[in-house]
C-alpha cells in the first residue's frame, strides 16, 4: 500500500513538474480556432495559410520568444468551438485565443477564453453583442463590426441614386447585422427581403428568392453570401438573367475564394460588380504589398480578406509581446500596446475604439481582370474615412 502511495505521489509530482516546465518555456502560445472541415473549411484554410505566412515573415519569433501556434477546427459548430477553446485555455494554456470565422461560434466560445483571463482576438467574426453590451477589455478585433461594411454600401447606393432595393442574406447573426447595416444608411425604399437558411446545411438554391427579387422591380439587389454560397448566388443571378436588369451590390460575397471558381465557370457577369470593404488587395502600403505578393508567391493565389485579417492578427500579437519585452504576465502592458494599434497593418493606419473594434476606412471596390487575366478586385474610391461602428456607445468601457 505504501509503495503504491509513493508511486502515485511520484507520478503526480512528475506530471506536475512536466506541466510547469512546458508552461514556462520561452514561447508565445497562440491558439487559433477556425473551420477546417465542412465546405467552410476553405475559409479556414485561407486563414491558417495567412497565419503561417505571417509567422514565417517574422522569423517565427516575437521579441526573444518563439511562436507556438495551435490550430483547432470548430467544425462550424458553436459547441465544438467552445470545447476547442476550453482545451486551448485549460490544457495548452495559450496566451492568446484567436481566429473565429462565425459569429455564433465566437459568441459560444468567448466566455471560456475571457473568464480565464486570456486575450481573445477575432480574426473575422464581429457580432454586435461583442461590440456593444458584451464588450470586454481583453477582446480585440482585427476585422470589423458586422454593420460597418453594409453601411458603407448603403452610402454608395445613395450616392449612385439607387431608389429601391431588394435584400437577400442568410439567416444568422452576421446576416442580420449586415441587413441592419444597409438599412441604416440606405435612404431609398426596401422592396423586399429574404433571410435564407444557413448553417452546415445552408440553402444554396435561390431560385424562388431571385424570382421574387425580379418581380419586385427593385433598382438594385443587395446580398451578403460569404464562402461557397457567394459563388452559388452569383451563378444563379447570372443564369436567371438578372445581370443588366438589377445591378448587384454585395458585401463579403465576391471574394478571392469565390472568384477563381467563378472564373472557372465563365461567370463573366461578375466582372464590374461592386462591393465595399475595409481592405483591397491593391491597397497602397508597404505591409499590404509584402503580404499580397508573399501570399501569391507562396500559395499561388490571391489572399482573401479573411487571410488579410488573420495576417494582421499575428502582427497585433507581436506588437503586444514586444511591448512588454516578452513578459506575458503583464496583461495591462500588452493591452495598452494593442490599444495603440500601431503595428504595421495591411489596411494601413487605423485606431481602436473604446470597444476594441477598429475605427477604419471603407473602400468601394470593383471586380476586374489583373495583368495576368486573373479575376481580382481593385479600389474605386474611399467611402468612409475612420468609421466607427454604432454599437460602441453600448459598450461601458
Amino acid at each position: 500500500m505504501n509503495t503504491l502511495k509513493k508511486l502515485l505521489t511520484g507520478f503526480v509530482w512528475a506530471c506536475a513538474t512536466l506541466g510547469y516546465t512546458v508552461a514556462s518555456a520561452d514561447s508565445v502560445k497562440i491558439g487559433f480556432v477556425t473551420t477546417l472541415t465542412t465546405p467552410a473549411g476553405v475559409i479556414g484554410q485561407d486563414m491558417v495559410d495567412a497565419v503561417n505566412l505571417a509567422i514565417e515573415d517574422i522569423g517565427g519569433k516575437m521579441g526573444d520568444l518563439d511562436v507556438e501556434l495551435m490550430v483547432e477546427d470548430d467544425g462550424f459548430k458553436p459547441e465544438i468551438g467552445k470545447q476547442k477553446t476550453d482545451k486551448l485555455v485549460k490544457q495548452d494554456d495559450v496566451d492568446f485565443v484567436a481566429g473565429f470565422i462565425w459569429s455564433h461560434v465566437l459568441l459560444a466560445s468567448q466566455k471560456s477564453a475571457l473568464d480565464a483571463g486570456k486575450f481573445l482576438i477575432s480574426s473575422n467574426a464581429g457580432p454586435s453583442q461583442l461590440a456593444g453590451e458584451l464588450c470586454h477589455e481583453n477582446f480585440f478585433s482585427t476585422s470589423w463590426q458586422n454593420d460597418q461594411t453594409p453601411m458603407a454600401m448603403g452610402e454608395v447606393l445613395n450616392q449612385q441614386g439607387v431608389k429601391s432595393l431588394y435584400i437577400m442574406a442568410p439567416n444568422y447573426a452576421a446576416g442580420k447585422n449586415m441587413v441592419a447595416g444597409v438599412e441604416r444608411t440606405f435612404q431609398g425604399k426596401v422592396l423586399g427581403k429574404d433571410m435564407t437558411k444557413w448553417g452546415a446545411d445552408a440553402q444554396l438554391d435561390f431560385s424562388a428568392e431571385l424570382a421574387k427579387a425580379k418581380a419586385s422591380g427593385a433598382e438594385g439587389i443587395f446580398v451578403f453570401y460569404p464562402g461557397k454560397a457567394g459563388g452559388a448566388f452569383i451563378k444563379q443571378y447570372q443564369q436567371a438573367g438578372l445581370q443588366g436588369q438589377i445591378p448587384l451590390y454585395s458585401v463579403f460575397t465576391v471574394d478571392s475564394i469565390a472568384l477563381p471558381k467563378l472564373q472557372e465557370a465563365n461567370m463573366e457577369g461578375v466582372l464590374g460588380s461592386r462591393m465595399t470593404q475595409f481592405w483591397v488587395p491593391d491597397l497602397d502600403n508597404p505591409q499590404n504589398k509584402k503580404f499580397v505578393s508573399g501570399f501569391k508567391k507562396k500559395y499561388g493565389r490571391y489572399p482573401s480578406f479573411y487571410a488579410a485579417q488573420s495576417y494582421d492578427t499575428i502582427f497585433l500579437i507581436k506588437r503586444a509581446v514586444e511591448a512588454v519585452n516578452g513578459n506575458l504576465d503583464d496583461k495591462d502592458g500588452m493591452r495598452a500596446a494593442m490599444m495603440k494599434a500601431d503595428f504595421p497593418s495591411v489596411r494601413g493606419k487605423f485606431t481602436y475604439g473604446n470597444n476594441h473594434m477598429p475605427i477604419q476606412n471603407f473602400y468601394l471596390r470593383e471586380v476586374v481582370k489583373d495583368e495576368d487575366g486573373v479575376w481580382t478586385t481593385k479600389t474605386v474610391s474611399t467611402v468612409y474615412e475612420n468609421h466607427q461602428d454604432t454599437y460602441a456607445q453600448d459598450c461601458k468601457m
Binding site: 465542412t38 473549411g41 442580420k176 437558411k197 446545411d201 444554396l204 438554391d205 431560385s207 424562388a208 424570382a211
Partner: protein
C-alpha cells in the same frame, strides 16, 4: 396577384421536386425491395457532382461528363453494395442507420481528401447558361433542362418498372420479398442492380444541381432527409408515390419560401415574419409527413399488395 411570378415559382418548385424525385426514386426502391435504410444515399448525390465536375474540366464537355459520371456512380454503387451493404440486409434497421451514417462520414472525408475543401464549379456550355423567354416569362434554360430530364427519367423508370422483366421482379420484390426469392430468382444480383441503379439516379440528381450551386462536401446530407420524407409520404417502394410526393414537396417548399413571409406579415411584425418564414416553410414539410404517418402510415401510393 402577379401571375408571372406564380408561374415562375411553380416551375422552380417543379424543378426542385424533380431533383428530389431522382434522389428519392432509388431510395424508395432500395427501401422497399431490400428493406434497407440507406442514409448514405446522399453521398452518391455528392459523388455524382464531383465526378461530373472533374470530368467536365478534363473532357471539356458537360454532356459527355454527365454520361460518364452516371456510369461511374453506378460502379461505386456496385462496389459499396458488394463490400458493405450486402452484409446488412439481415441486420435490423438500427444497424443499417449506424453503418450508413458511418459511410456518410467516410464519403465526406474521402471527398475532402481527394478534392480539397473548396468545392468545385461545373461550367455550363453557353447554350445552357442563358434564359428562355416565353411571352413575358423569363426562365433559366438550365432549370428547364433539369425539368425535362427529370420527366424523361420518370418516364424511363415507368417503362422499366412496368414493361420489363427486371421491372416485374422489382415490383414483386417491393410488395413481397420472400415470394421473389422463393421463385428462384438470383436475388443477390437483383439487389445489386437495384442498389447501383438507385445510386446512379442519386448521382444524376447531384450532378444536375451542381452547375447551379456547386459540388461541395456534405451536399447530400440535408437533402437526404428531405428525400426520406418523399419516400415516406409517397409510400415505401412506390415509384409513382415518390414522383407525386417529390413534386408536392418541391412545390410546398418553393411556395412557402415565396409567399409565406407575405402571409405572416398579416399578423406579425415584418422583422419577425422575415425570419420566421423560411423556418416555417421548412417545417411545413415535416408537418405533412407527421400527418401522413399518423393518418395513413403506408403513404399516399403504397405499392400494390404491400403490407
Amino acid at each position: 396577384m402577379d401571375w408571372n411570378l406564380l408561374l415562375t415559382q411553380f416551375l422552380n418548385g417543379l424543378q426542385l421536386g424533380l431533383l428530389l424525385f431522382l434522389l428519392a426514386s432509388g431510395l424508395t426502391l432500395i427501401f422497399g425491395i431490400m428493406d434497407f435504410i440507406n442514409l448514405a444515399h446522399g453521398s452518391f448525390y455528392m459523388v455524382g457532382a464531383y465526378f461530373c465536375a472533374t470530368l467536365t474540366l478534363l473532357t471539356g464537355s458537360f454532356v459527355l461528363a454527365l454520361l460518364m459520371s452516371v456510369a461511374g456512380v453506378f460502379v461505386v454503387g456496385l462496389v459499396i453494395e458488394a463490400s458493405i451493404v450486402r452484409r446488412l440486409y439481415q441486420h435490423d434497421h438500427l444497424d443499417q442507420v449506424l453503418v450508413t451514417f458511418g459511410l456518410i462520414l467516410c464519403f465526406d472525408t474521402l471527398v475532402h481528401l481527394i478534392w480539397g475543401p473548396e468545392g468545385m464549379a461545373i461550367p455550363l456550355p453557353r447554350l445552357l447558361d442563358g434564359q428562355i423567354t416565353v411571352g413575358s416569362l423569363v426562365f433559366p434554360t438550365y432549370r428547364v433542362i433539369i425539368i425535362v430530364s427529370g420527366l424523361l427519367v420518370a418516364i424511363g423508370l415507368y417503362v422499366l418498372v412496368m414493361k420489363t422483366r427486371l421491372g416485374m421482379l422489382i415490383r414483386a420484390g417491393a410488395s413481397n420479398r420472400v415470394m421473389v426469392s422463393a421463385l428462384g430468382v438470383n436475388i443477390n444480383r437483383l439487389f445489386m442492380i437495384v442498389f447501383a441503379l438507385g445510386a446512379a439516379l442519386a448521382g444524376l440528381s447531384g450532378l444536375l444541381i451542381a452547375p447551379i450551386t456547386e459540388a461541395s462536401i456534405g451536399m447530400g446530407n440535408e437533402i437526404i432527409i428531405l428525400a426520406f420524407v418523399v419516400v415516406i409520404v409517397g409510400g415505401i417502394g412506390s415509384i409513382k408515390g415518390a414522383f407525386f410526393s417529390a413534386v408536392l414537396i418541391g412545390l410546398i417548399d418553393t411556395m412557402g419560401r415565396s409567399y409565406l413571409d407575405d402571409f405572416l406579415k398579416l399578423f406579425m411584425s415584418i422583422q419577425n415574419a422575415e425570419t420566421a418564414a423560411p423556418a416555417l416553410s421548412a417545417m411545413l414539410i415535416y408537418i405533412l409527413m407527421a400527418v401522413i404517418l399518423a393518418v395513413r402510415p403506408q403513404g399516399l401510393f403504397p405499392p400494390a399488395g404491400a403490407r
